[in-house]
């Protein structure tokens, strides 16, 4: 075994060495040192590029092609033109899940504000700072599915759920959070915000640490109060952090899937499709109904939406400075 691996190693080294000398003696003969360096850089860049193209880009185009086909995963693919898209735009559930995805996106500004408040408060303290940072970061480290199921337990009807027990303890009426068409979506959104908070707090804290102390000292000397310092120094200088969090966060909220799959009634985006998201919609179409072409068409729409949103955000938010 050891002998064979040594043989393979020597063989690979021989091939690489001969390749290197070929490149050196034949291709790079007439180039100066700078050009040679460039060529080598491109040769080394080629390896990850080929990997990226074959693993990421090629399947994407495969999916685009699939959106024009009809395929049930085992049979042969059949070209149907734009029929999948026509069917998709007539599908009420698709529009419903698109609208729901828009509603989930509303969680982003809420979580940005809450995250900023906590990060701002955390940046004020010194004693036990690391302990509090750990506590607030803990949910982000936990598996999405575990968090979803804990929240499922918290939101159960009366004899079991923590939230309802608390409400009845306070003398308020109880709710069927996850079985109610108006409450189910905000409940799932709350769990998602709760989990994403830690990541935002860490990024905000890094941004707050990056603001030079002298600015605050100068402001203090000039007699600026806490709010003036917050609005004139902290918020403007945190703009790159906001841009990063908004772009990352909106992609996260547009791709909501695991939370809904694990928290919604029977895991199907119910009740009455009120919590269905685009990703869950296309997942169910692809792997429960085996309509691959149809699901690929929905994926293409989702891709276009995410790309447009991200491009607009990058353009608008990082434009002037």
């Amino acid at each position: 075994m050891c002998f064979f691996s040594l043989l393979i190693f020597l063989g690979v080294r021989y091939v690489l060495n001969s390749l290197k000398s070929t490149i050196k003696n034949w291709w790079l003969k007439d180039l100066n040192i700078k050009q040679r360096k460039m060529v080598w850089a491109y040769i080394f860049l080629l390896v990850p590029l080929i990997f990226y193209l074959s693993i990421r880009i090629y399947p994407v185009f495969k999916a685009f092609r699939l959106s024009l086909m009809e395929w049930d995963l085992v049979g042969s693919q059949e070209f149907v033109g734009l029929d999948n898209f026509r069917e998709l735009f007539d599908d009420a559930i698709f529009w419903r899940s698109l609208a729901n995805t828009g509603k989930y996106l509303l969680g982003l500004p809420i979580s940005l504000v809450i995250g900023f408040i906590f990060a701002y408060l955390l940046s004020k303290i010194e004693f036990a700072f690391g302990f509090f940072r750990l506590i607030y970061f803990l949910p982000y480290l936990t598996s999405l599915v575990a968090v979803a199921w804990i929240f499922r337990w918290i939101l159960q009807p009366l004899p079991l759920g923590l939230a309802n027990r608390f409400l009845s303890f306070m003398g308020l009426s109880s709710y069927h959070f996850l079985e109610d068409t108006t409450l189910a979506l905000p409940s799932i959104l709350a769990a998602t915000i709760w989990q994403g908070l830690g990541f935002q707090i860490i990024i905000y804290l890094a941004g707050l640490k990056g603001i030079p102390k002298q600015l605050y000292e100068a402001a203090e000397v000039d007699g600026a109060n806490e709010f003036q310092r917050l609005f004139k120094i902290t918020l403007p200088l945190l703009k790159p952090t906001f841009v990063f969090l908004i772009v990352i966060g909106s992609i996260r909220y547009l791709r909501m899937f695991a939370q809904v799959l694990n928290m919604s009634y029977q895991g199907r985006g119910g009740p009455a499709y009120s919590t269905m998201t685009l990703v869950l919609f296309l997942y169910r179409r692809a792997f429960e109904h085996f309509e691959m072409g149809y699901a690929a068409a929905a994926t293409l729409i989702l891709f276009l939406i995410i790309m447009t949103v991200s491009l607009i955000q990058l353009k608008v938010l990082s434009g002037d400075d």
Binding site: I125, F127, A128, F132, I150, P159, G198
Partner: protein, 58 residues
């Protein structure tokens, strides 16, 4: 060393309201984990009880 403790105490005294607020929300953030830990030690009939201390740990 004593100076570090003194500084920490000064910071705590200055921001004690902040600490209370952070601790309150911190408990909200940690409670599900404590409950997860407690449940992992509980026998089957107890899993829906709210207490963080299992009556018959296994």
């Amino acid at each position: 060393m004593t100076k570090a403790i003194k500084d920490a105490y000064e910071s705590f005294k200055k921001h004690y309201v902040l600490y209370l607020v952070l601790l309150f929300f911190g408990i909200i953030m940690v409670f599900p984990f404590l409950w997860m830990l407690a449940t992992s030690l509980k026998p089957q009939p107890e899993i829906y009880s709210l207490s963080l201390m299992p009556d018959n740990p296994r």
